[in-house]
Subunit: 147 residues, 4 copies
């Protein structure tokens, strides 16, 4: 069992008008975009980009999404997405998320996503390659952030 | 305990180009739009529209979303969303979904959403109003479909 | 100069909740999705699919978009997108659109899009291949609709 | 005729994965979200927020959108949206945009949007209220930025 450095990454996002719906809240499907953006920053803080992973033939499609909406997120609110890597298995990994609505000063959302490692050419699932596992387990405090 | 007529509703949707991402699949956040569209049709088959509910001051914001992505959905694929009402509680309800990719002939997605009843004016949660409960429990086979 | 059969194609679409914004209208960027869906149907009525074009290495990226929003489109409205091929040049083509809000019985939107033919492998612009030009000029009244 | 301070505002945005499509580019409809985000920042640099305008009953729905796509925008690219107020009329205004793909170092997009002033209660068009006109004509170099 590998131990995962429990270092969260934070991504601040301002809500767009087009992300709201007629109820006046952010539409529930748009949260997926913010979780994805947070994953991008999570990688970057560990010295690599998700884009570079794909260029090396490793894709991380999402196979499970869970979101609990506990409070409101509205247009022009600032949210902060706290993301941590919760678990790595042989061929998959889970990210955990907490969204703080900074404008309201409240935790508004919790969730997680599971991702599998997919070979970009064969489009088949594969084990997490060792070089990817190493990057995922990096401590951002001792790694240079990618651009 | 009320018994829910276990009559599923089916909504067929063709995947848009703008719903794909560079991986060549439908983006994982866009499924929320299809589940929502299926809920609209579910209501309609029971003789009312979600729009009319809001006009009567009853909103059904989603408070929990769960999706398991088991197979691919691609541009121009036809999917069929099977939706059933799984549970009604005092102030909330759960819908269950299965997405069949008709183009591939495979079950590709499973999920559920929890919704609370919200008073449109006070923006507070409230018990499911009796007239709403009655509509939710209608058997579509003995109810005229709404336009 | 080739003459284009001035046969419009119509695509009916019901507006999704997630396509609205807090103003209560459909968000102005989402119209692009409906124009795209109409283009897909336009191809289909001429016996081919845009998907099959891409599989043959011919992409039609949009290089210009113009939309005039003259009236409202709201959640659950039915719209009908009327699309015609307005012009074909050596390496590009223009589609023209009119959106009728059927729920209101009013013309609500007008617009056009220009597309270039792009070689899918080299990612370079190219002349409209003759087999594509032939398909674009088909009269849907004498062509079987693609699935 | 009023003279508009020709001071551009710049908004930097990193492209999300969910904003791409299977062609590997950003989907043409998603640019509308970036233009909107730039408008929000444009207001903020002039000491007010679009949100506060709506709270005061003044809405600025888009009535015309024009976009010319001249180059590529891809996942993880940084773009910079340059926005200027091009014209104010009695009851409408035009914003002009240039998008620089910073990752490529190239101008990739040009466009404009027309907006009318709408009374939030009556939902009717109205003249640009004097207090709004004053704010629109502010010079950001002599105005404190809104939060």
């Amino acid at each position: 069992m590998c131990e995962i450095p429990a270092v969260p990454t934070y991504e601040r996002i301002r809500i767009r008008y087009g992300e709201t719906d007629q109820m006046g809240h952010a539409y529930y499907g748009n949260y997926a975009l913010w979780l994805e953006q947070a994953r991008g920053t999570w990688c970057r803080e560990r010295g690599f980009t998700y884009k570079s992973l794909e260029e090396q033939g490793v894709y991380l499609p999402c196979v499970e999404l869970h979101v609990r909406y506990k409070g409101e997120v509205r247009y022009d609110d600032w949210i902060s997405v706290e993301i941590t890597l919760g678990e790595i298995r042989r061929a998959s990994m889970r990210f955990d998320y907490k969204i703080i609505n900074e404008t309201l000063g409240k935790l508004t959302t919790e969730g997680y996503t599971w991702h599998v490692t997919m070979n970009g050419e064969t489009r088949k699932a594969m084990s997490v390659p060792p070089f990817v596992r190493d990057m995922l387990l990096r401590d951002p405090n001792v790694t240079a952030t990618a651009e």
